[in-house]
Amino acid sequence: MELAEITKTVISLARKVDEKNITLTPESALVADLGLESVQIIEFLCEVEDHFDIVIGEDSLADVVTVSDLAELVYHLSREKKL
């Protein structure tokens, strides 16, 4: 799956937890814009993992701020899995 398609999917998964009903873009910040509590973030990340059939380590999340950051991480993890 290409990065653009992954980004679209991450946005559609984020919409399910977006209680503020904001317009999500690749630049939307997962915590600041979506206003998710830590527990909701974990639930959301579990959904992302299950959708893409990957596991995301806590350390790799350190630099993830936006939807786009997460999509890039998913893209790399998906590629690593195939190699």
Binding site: E37, S38, V39, Q40, I42, E43, L45, C46, E49, D50, D53, I54, V55, I56, G57, E58, D59, K81
Partner: protein, 399 residues
């Protein structure tokens, strides 16, 4: 950004909490009257928010053992277990814990927190993966981080979420540690340990169960939930604390694996701290004896748990459906929970108020806990206060 700007978030949280009628993190127990009563703001209140599940904090046996030890062995060891801090009592306690679980190896730590930190730090390194329940205690996460292991969360109490992640880890699953608790401390829900143990067996992984809140309450001799569900033989490591049902302070790890005996050479949280004081060790040994013989204490605690759970359920409050000595009442609105908690305290009932981000699933939780020492009258009073406040705030079924 200056170093001290790191405190901006803490400062804003402090201001928010200090703006409440009573700051839930600033409650002072001015005088402890008994295991179930204390003086707070000049008024005697019922304690329905401690971890004193067996009510042993005022046990004569435990106090006498502590006093004898203070008089004969002094106030502290002043050193690490690896230097001058191992007294015969420390070794006796380790032997007694191993015997309690019929496992050959046990280690005692200075706190429950350091038991978790010390166990993970010794057991894991950057080559290992950890699959940890998303609602596990902070000390378990801190221990994993300290070890350098790769940490993956799975959904709380969800065996299918765990299995998917074990599958994705592939061959790494057989060097993976699964970390769960027995009884969870906020909502009072128990882990599906049998299912977790089956998965651990299927994937050749390792299972660690933290029995911090389940010790004393579940299983034969109060050994915990893994014993109650008959999976002790499938559990690789049990960790626990002395600071809840046993009423003292300290922690332990017990295992069937001989490598636990080597932890002391590599576990920094074990090595670089002073060992528990002899008096604490003596009181803990007495408390373990009382816990083993304490079927009557468990019976009292469970009767109180079922009675209070039934009372709160009948009001229509949002609880976990299965009773346990920890009863978490969930509120969608943080403001309502704060108001409810304040009125409870003003009415003479102390509970714990858990606010985001500590409350699981968003919202807030008022956490009640019962002990073997609560009387029927006290439990009835707690239930009655909840009922009248729920009515006042329009939260009860009848409202």
């Amino acid at each position: 950004m200056s170093l001290l700007s790191n405190f901006e978030l803490a400062e804003s949280r402090k201001k928010q909490l200090e703006g409440l009628p009573i700051n839930p993190t600033g409650v002072v127990l001015e005088k402890i009257v008994s295991p179930t009563e204390a003086l707070i703001n000049g008024k005697i209140v019922i304690l329905a928010g401690t971890n004193n599940y067996l009510g042993l904090t005022f046990s004569k046996d435990c106090i006498d053992a502590g006093i004898r030890s203070l008089e004969t062995q002094g106030t502290g060891t002043t050193g690490s277990r690896m230097a001058n801090g191992t007294y015969s009592g420390h070794l006796e306690l380790e032997r007694e814990i191993a015997e309690l679980y019929s496992m050959p190896y046990s280690m005692v730590f200075s706190t429950g927190y350091s038991a978790n930190l010390g166990t993970m730090a010794a057991l894991l390194d950057e080559n290992n993966a950890v699959l940890i329940d998303s609602e596990a205690h902070a000390s378990l996460f801190d221990g994993c981080r300290m070890s350098g292991a790769e940490v993956f969360r799975f959904k709380h109490n969800d065996p299918s979420s765990l299995e998917k992640r074990l599958q994705r880890l592939g061959e790494r699953a057989n060097s993976t540690l699964i970390i769960v608790e027995g009884l969870y401390s906020i909502r009072g829900d128990c882990a599906p340990l049998r299912e977790f143990a089956e998965l651990k067996e299927s994937y050749n992984s390792y299972l660690l169960v933290d029995e911090a809140h389940s010790l004393g309450l579940y299983g034969r001799y109060g050994r915990g939930l893994a014993d109650q569900l008959d999976i002790l033989d499938k559990t690789d490591f049990i960790v626990g604390t002395f600071s809840k049902s046993l009423g003292t302070i300290g922690g332990f790890c017990v295992s069937k694996h001989p490598q636990l005996g080597l932890f002391k050479y590599s576990s920094r949280p074990y090595i670089f701290t002073a060992s528990p004081s002899p008096a604490v060790i003596a009181s803990t040994r007495s408390a373990i004896k009382l816990m083993k013989e304490g079927d009557h204490l468990r019976k009292n605690a469970w009767e109180s748990a079922r009675n209070l759970h039934g009372a709160l359920e009948s009001i229509g409050l949002d609880l976990h459906p299965i009773p346990s000595p920890v009863i978490g009442v969930s509120f969608q609105s943080e403001e309502v929970a704060i108001q409810f908690w304040n009125i409870l305290l003003e009415s003479g009932i102390y509970t714990n108020l858990i606010l985001p981000p500590a409350a699981p699933g968003g919202g807030a939780v008022i956490r009640c806990s019962v002990t073997a020492a609560h009387s029927v009258e006290q439990i009835n009073k707690i239930g009655a206060c909840f009922k009248s406040i729920a009515k006042e705030l329009g939260l009860s079924k009848a409202a």
